[in-house]
Amino acid sequence: MAFLETRPFRFIHCGDLHLDSPFTGLGHTDSDIKKILYDASFQAFEKVLDYGLEEKASFVLIAGDIYDSLTRSLRAQLNFRDLVRKAGKEGLSIYVVHGNHDPLDSWTARVSFPDNLFRFPDRLSSVTHYEDGSPLAEIWGISYARKETSENLARRFSGIPRERDIFRIGLLHCNVGGVSTLHQNYAPCSLGDLIDGAVDYWALGHVHEMNILHDSSPMVVYPGNIQGRHMKEQGEKGCFLVSVDSGRVDGMEFLPTSEVLWMEEQVSLSGNEEIADIHDLVGAACDRIRSLARGRLSIARLSLTGTSDLQSFLNNPLFLDQLVQTFRDRERNRLDLVWIESIRNRTRGPSDLSELKDSDSFLSDFLRVAHQARHDPGLVETFLRETPGFNHIRLFLEKGDFPDYRELVDDAEKLGLSRLLEEHQE
């Protein structure tokens, strides 16, 4: 069947708004920064809608997880409604499917939404978007009825007739081929399930990293979330502006929406032997991050790398805490501030520990114990279990708190050495 003669149009594709969900992985924070964090997700969504209006997009697609139903945030629902209503007054239509964080059963009888918002039900449905009386695109979508949806929803799209005379979009919240292990495997499907369908553009949600899984027809796109909420969601977050002409995708542009940027930066200390040098290098790293953030608040984790003779300082948590505090104080009154989340020491000392390990000294014994622990996690567990207070501590620990066991042993080794050698710094 031949495509209808439709004029070129554009639409916005975003997902995983997670409005009003808290930022995680931040310790003590200033009240001014907290205020920014409270509103960051809303401002990011406002940006999405502003892009839609500025770029004269015909509609906006939201691929699930508008907010976290767990928090049952009324503020999220009301602000979402108000922003949608505002966009509706400007003539912007919004199409939504619900994901695992905002399944349909969590939306019932909450807030009534304006007419420019179309929510897909928990069965495969379609809606045709008209503009000036002419059809532009046919949008197919399906929402999660409840959170635990393990069905391959993509397969339901196979029932759509293949013949079409208009650009067709599939709007779905799913995990394609286990593309992300960081996310729970809801509505799992394979890329093949999607490519084989009668859809021209797959507007997906669920994975928070921007990812184009298939860049020719049909396009399969994850835009990622619109605002990073922890250190694992680093860098620019945003949405896609998709241009369609003659029934196919003519161009895609990633539009940044983050109000707060999460960044990780490495600072090499090699060749710098003074404490003042560390301050200069950290300051320079902050400036680099600032230039990337372009006036926005950025939350940075700095890793000190390279070789340094200042191990006794660097391995002392107090020194690093003071360094962090110094830079927080220095940045405090800036509008484009860089809030240092933490500074981690990943430097090596100038002397070769393996030489020391082979010597006949106490240090060598210590290093050998650490070496042994590195290869025997059970040993460490025994050590920890024997330490009073561990039962209390384990209540606060989570599975992913120590992603790299060897790194933890390295840190303990460094801390031990610094405690052993700290009184002998010349």
């Binding site: 909450r110 070769d352 920890l384 933890l408 405690r419």
Partner: protein, 1075 residues
């Protein structure tokens, strides 16, 4: 490796210094403080490892030469290289100058600088570091443990306890009720959770509120409808109520209008026209009255203002009087001036006469002869008198001065006398100057003597003590005279015999065959010989001992003898001193048992008495001098008084001559020669004033005549006008002029009044004619309206006005009723109802309706209020951030808690590693180190001590071998602790470097707390180690070189010969002194 050559271009005190051909062995560098030992140690370390990354100075050269230097090094494998220090960096070159790829650390067996500093380079500061701390068991244990572990002065227990403190700060270490960081966080989290629960489900609340709002809105709408209906009904009722009253009023008005029908045709402007005519008539009549009154007034005034013709005829005389009046003013002023001038002259003349003489009058003034004034007689008189007076004044001045001096001296004399008597009363008569001086001298001598006496007594005590000690020593020495035991002489012989008897059977032919039998006699012989030798040795030792004891006893006895002699001399001196003390005590008036305080008090008393005696003597001599001065002043006063009386006599004779002279010239007798000049001046002035007075008197008389004439003529004129009055001349003249002018004015006024009267008469005639015409017109109006008089006319007019008013009211009421009813048609419709309507019923019904409406409105307002509150709550909910804030806060706290927990895990692991390492070290490593260290310590202490690791708690203890006793670290002396520490460090260096490049050891003044034998032991150890590696030993004690030399010479039989190089260091110059 070994350092074969040291070249220092410039480094601190060193400049262009070179030390070559260094041996693999022991290099001893001796030098005083500040000779450069520590600098050289720093140079060696810096040349091996550089100074990069270090703060602080780089030991810039104090003298010439650039900073830096080099070390030539020979590795164990025979390879040579150079370590070159440039600035803070070290470069390693081959001997040919090419750079070596290996880093210094690689060449130095992987030992980094830190390890080198802790193990191979040991200074005095390493031993004494922490000396100010309490050397408790833990500290010392830690020190030894640290030494054996290669950590320098490190306390492992401090590291462990530090970690434990930090861990227990985060989470509970024991069951103590201390609040940890994690506890605090838990509390905070709990609070947040509680707050979140209290907040509840905002979404449900929002939905509920919205539903409530909708229900309320429905109720409000229904209430609004009810109110509307009630209001409509109320309006209807109110309309009826409003109509009733005007409707009834209309009816009443229509009835009244019927009664006033006759006045309807009254002309519309009739009353106005009548009123105009009446007003004009009234005005005309008022004007007529006014004109009549004016006419009367004018006639009356004309009659009043007629002039006196007699006066107007005397115009010529009046003009004459006017001229006199002008001149009279001047003449009166002149007369007054002249009179005042005359009075002034009279006053001055009186004053002059008073000044000349009280008894004189104007005649005496003319009579007095003043012709002799120029003869110069008066001047001579005056000259004589002035000379006499001047002299008298001078003499009087001198006399006053003498009087004053006399009085002053007399007062001084008197005061001095009183002072002396009071001093003499206080002074003790017995104590004269000489006695006091003698007492003071004795007092000084007493001080010296008493001190000497005390010293002598102390020495006596000491000597007695010494004597006692010597006698005790002697007794002890004599007690020890008992000689040590020696083998008895019979023992070798007996041994020989017994062995002979016992082994007889084994001798050849003794019956027994034994392979070694021929040796038994020889063995017995040897044994008895050995016993003999042993006895001889013991005897020699006993003899030596006895001889020594004898010598010692003799020396004790000699000492005791000399001590006794000294004691006798001291007793003698003490006696002498006692007698001298008694003599001086008597002299100074103090008892024998005085104390030093008594001496001081007595001395102060005597010194005070002596100073008082000196003051009395001075006062007495002063009194004598004052008496002499008084006598001289009295004599001088008498002579001057005589001279003064002679002078007064001369002055009296001079005054009698002057009186005679005055009488001769008719001059006043009271005139003094001094006042003569002023007298002459007064006479001349008075005579001049007298002549002026006579002239003024003549002029006054002329003026008085003129005034009298004028007075008479003016008085006559007024009398002729019939106006005789008592007036002054001037007033009279003024009256004449004024009266004449008045009459002139009257004549003019009468003329003008007569003209005015004519005009008034004319106006009056015109007004009377107008009045007549107006009365005729008014009559015509009455006739037109059919009334007879004004009263009827006005009554008719009133009726007409009333009718018109009612007509207007009726129209207004009709319009109002139509307005209330809605239209005239509606009004017609309700008219029947209005006719029958009962107003009170209507009002009751209306009241009830109003009440209902108020009730409903109140209800509505409450509902509106509730709605507003609901909307407010909904709005608040929509902007409520609490949920956001709380969930974010919870997340932040959770993160902080996780961070803390991670930190805890890290520290707990570190602590566990450390504890495990300590356990391993103490089990495996430490025994080796301790064993080697024990060997070294044994050598250093001459075999007295050995070092052990306790099996119980693995602490380090010392064994004193001789007594087989154990010494815990608390009982170690500082020197012993140093020795143990060095032994452990040297042992560690040995073991650590076993399979690698043997690095040189650098030791700096580590032996300062060693006694000589231990220094020898240390030298032994160093020589032992120096056989295997190079040692640089810096010492501030040059004696250590001798010790090493001695040890070297004693150990010639050493298995491996050791090279030793002896050097001295002085002001940065190194000089080898032998090897």
């Amino acid at each position: 490796m070994m350092i074969s050559e040291i070249v220092i271009r410039g480094f601190g005190i060193f400049s262009q210094e070179h030390l070559g051909d260094l041996p693999r062995g022991l290099i001893i560098l001796s030098g005083d403080n500040e000779s450069g030992k520590s600098t050289l140690k720093r140079f060696l370390k810096s040349a091996l490892y550089g100074m990069e990354g270090k703060k602080g100075p780089i030991d810039k050269p104090l003298g010439t030469g650039t900073h830096g230097g080099l070390l030539r090094v020979i590795m164990n494998n025979g390879r040579s290289c150079q370590f070159i220090l440039k600035g803070r960096k070290v470069q390693v070159h081959d001997p040919d100058g090419s750079t070596i790829d290996h880093s210094p650390q690689e060449l130095l067996g992987g030992v980094d600088e830190r390890l080198f500093s802790r193990i191979f380079c040991l200074g005095l500061e390493d031993l004494w570091e922490g000396e100010d701390r309490i050397l408790d068991e833990d500290n010392l244990r830690s020190r030894i443990f640290a030494a054996s572990s290669g950590l320098g002065h490190f306390s492992i227990s401090r590291a462990l306890s530090g970690l434990k403190d930090e861990l227990s700060g985060i989470s509970k270490w024991t069951s103590a009720r201390k609040n940890t960081l994690l506890d605090e966080m838990e509390h905070k989290l709990h609070d947040i959770q509680k707050e979140m629960s209290a907040l509840g489900d905002l979404s449900s609340l929002y939905v509920r509120l919205r539903e409530e709002k909708k229900a309320l809105e429905v109720q409000i709408r229904s209430l609004q409808d009810n109110i509307g209906t009630a209001r409509f009904r109320s309006i209807e009722m109110k309309r009826l109520d409003n109509l009733i009253e005007p409707y009834q009023s209309l009816k009443r008005i229509e009835e009244t209008m019927e009664g006033l029908k006759g006045a309807e045709k009254f002309p519309s402007s009739g009353k106005e026209r009548y009123q105009v005519l009446k007003d004009r008539l009234m005005r005309t009549r008022a004007e007529i009255n006014h004109l009549i009154k004016t006419e009367e007034d004018l006639g009356k005034r004309i009659r009043e203002v007629q002039p006196i013709h007699k006066i107007l005829q005397d115009r010529a005389r009046m003009e004459e009087m006017t001229e006199h009046k002008v001149r009279l003013e001047e003449k009166l002023e002149t007369l007054a001036d002249l009179r005042s001038e005359k009075r002034e002259l009279d006053r001055e003349l009186c004053a002059l006469l008073e000044a000349i003489s009280r008894d004189w009058d104007l005649d005496d003034l003319e009579k007095a002869d003043i012709s002799m004034a120029s003869a110069g007689e008066v001047e001579e008189f005056l000259k004589d008198l002035a000379g006499l007076k001047e002299r008298k004044d001078r003499i009087n001045g001198v006399l006053e001065e003498i009087e004053l001096s006399h009085n002053n001296v007399f007062q001084e004399y008197h005061a001095c006398g009183e002072r002396l008597s009071s001093l003499e009363e206080d002074q003790d008569q017995e104590s004269g100057r000489i006695q006091l001086e003698n007492a003071l001298k004795s007092l000084d001598a007493l001080g010296h003597l008493s001190r000497e006496h005390s010293l002598v007594e102390e020495r006596i005590d000491m000597e007695q003590g010494r004597l006692n000690a010597l006698s005790l020593d002697l007794e002890r020495s004599e007690d020890q005279m008992e000689a040590p035991w020696i083998l008895p002489l019979f023992l070798p012989s007996a041994t020989f015999i017994v062995s002979g008897i016992l082994f007889l059977p084994f001798f050849p032919g003794g019956g027994l065959d034994f392979p070694f039998s021929p040796f038994y006699p020889l063995f017995a012989l040897c044994l008895s010989f050995a016993l003999l030798v042993l006895r001889a040795h013991q005897k020699k030792r006993r003899d030596d001992f006895l001889e020594k004891q004898e010598v010692r006893g003799a020396s004790f006895r000699n000492e005791m003898e000399s001590s006794r002699k000294g004691l006798a001399l001291l007793f003698q001196r003490a006696e002498e001193l006692k007698s001298q003390l008694a003599f001086h005590c008597h002299n100074s008036g103090i008892s024998m048992d005085f104390s030093s305080m008594d001496l001081d008090q007595r001395k102060i008393f005597l010194e005070r008495s002596l100073s008082r005696v000196a003051i009395i003597e001075d006062t007495r001599s002063e009194l004598t001098l004052l008496h002499e001065k008084l006598q001289k002043l009295s004599a001088r006063k008498e002579s001057i008084q005589k001279e003064l009386s002679l002078l007064e006599e001369k002055m009296d004779s001079c005054y009698s001559d002057w009186t005679a002279w005055l009488r001769e010239h008719d001059l006043p007798p009271e005139l003094t020669p001094q006042l003569f000049d002023s007298f002459l001046q007064h006479i001349r002035t008075a005579r001049k004033h007298y002549r002026n007075r006579q002239d003024i008197t003549g002029r006054i008389n002329g003026l008085e005549d003129y005034i009298a004439h004028l007075d008479k003529s003016s008085s006559d004129l007024l009398v002729s006008w019939g106006m005789e009055r008592e007036l002054s001349l001037s007033d009279r003249l003024n009256t004449i002029i004024y009266v004449f002018q008045e009459e002139e004015a009257k004549r003019e006024l009468v003329g003008s009044l007569e003209k005015e009267l004519d005009s008034v008469c004319e106006k009056l005639e015109k007004c009377r004619q107008e009045e007549k015409i107006l009365l005729e017109n008014m009559e015509n109006i009455f006739r037109g309206t059919g009334v007879c008089d004004e009263e009827e006319f006005f009554s008719l007019h009133q009726d007409h006005l009333r009718f018109m008013e009612l007509k207007e009211q009726s129209l207004q009421l009709k319009a109002r009723l139509a307005g209330i009813a809605g239209s005239e048609c509606s009004l017609r419709e309700v008219s029947p109802s209005l006719e029958n309507c009962n107003r009170s019923d209507l009002e009751k019904e209306l009241l009830q309706l109003d009440r209902d409406i108020v009730g409903m409105e109140k209800d509505l307002s409450e509902k509106h209020q509730s709605l507003g509150q609901l909307e407010d709550r909904i709005r608040q909910l929509s902007i409520d951030r609490r949920q956001t804030v709380l969930s974010q806060e919870k997340e932040l706290l959770m993160t902080e808690a996780r961070e803390l927990s991670r930190k805890w895990v890290l520290m707990a692991m570190t602590r566990a590693f450390l504890e495990k390492a300590v356990e391993i070290h103490e089990k495996q490593r430490q025994p080796k180190v301790i064993s080697k260290a024990s060997e070294y310590l044994g050598t250093i202490t001459g075999g007295r001590y050995s070092l052990h690791s306790s099996m119980k708690d693995r602490s380090i203890i010392l064994e004193e071998k001789e007594n087989r006793t154990w010494k815990g670290v608390t009982t170690w002396s500082s020197g012993l602790a140093d020795q143990a520490y060095i032994a452990v460090r040297l042992s560690l260096a040995e073991l650590l470097n076993q399979n690698r490049e043997p690095l040189p050891i650098i030791l700096d003044d580590v032996h300062v707390r060693f006694d000589r034998s231990r220094q020898e032991g240390l030298a032994e150890v160093l020589l032992d180690i120096a056989g295997k590696r190079q040692i640089f030993f810096f010492s501030c004690d040059s004696g250590f070189q001798h010790i090493v030399r001695k040890v070297v010479s004693n150990g010639q039989m050493r298995s491996t010969p050791v090279n030793v190089l002896y050097c001295t260091l002085q002001d940065g110059k190194i000089s080898p002194v032998g090897s």
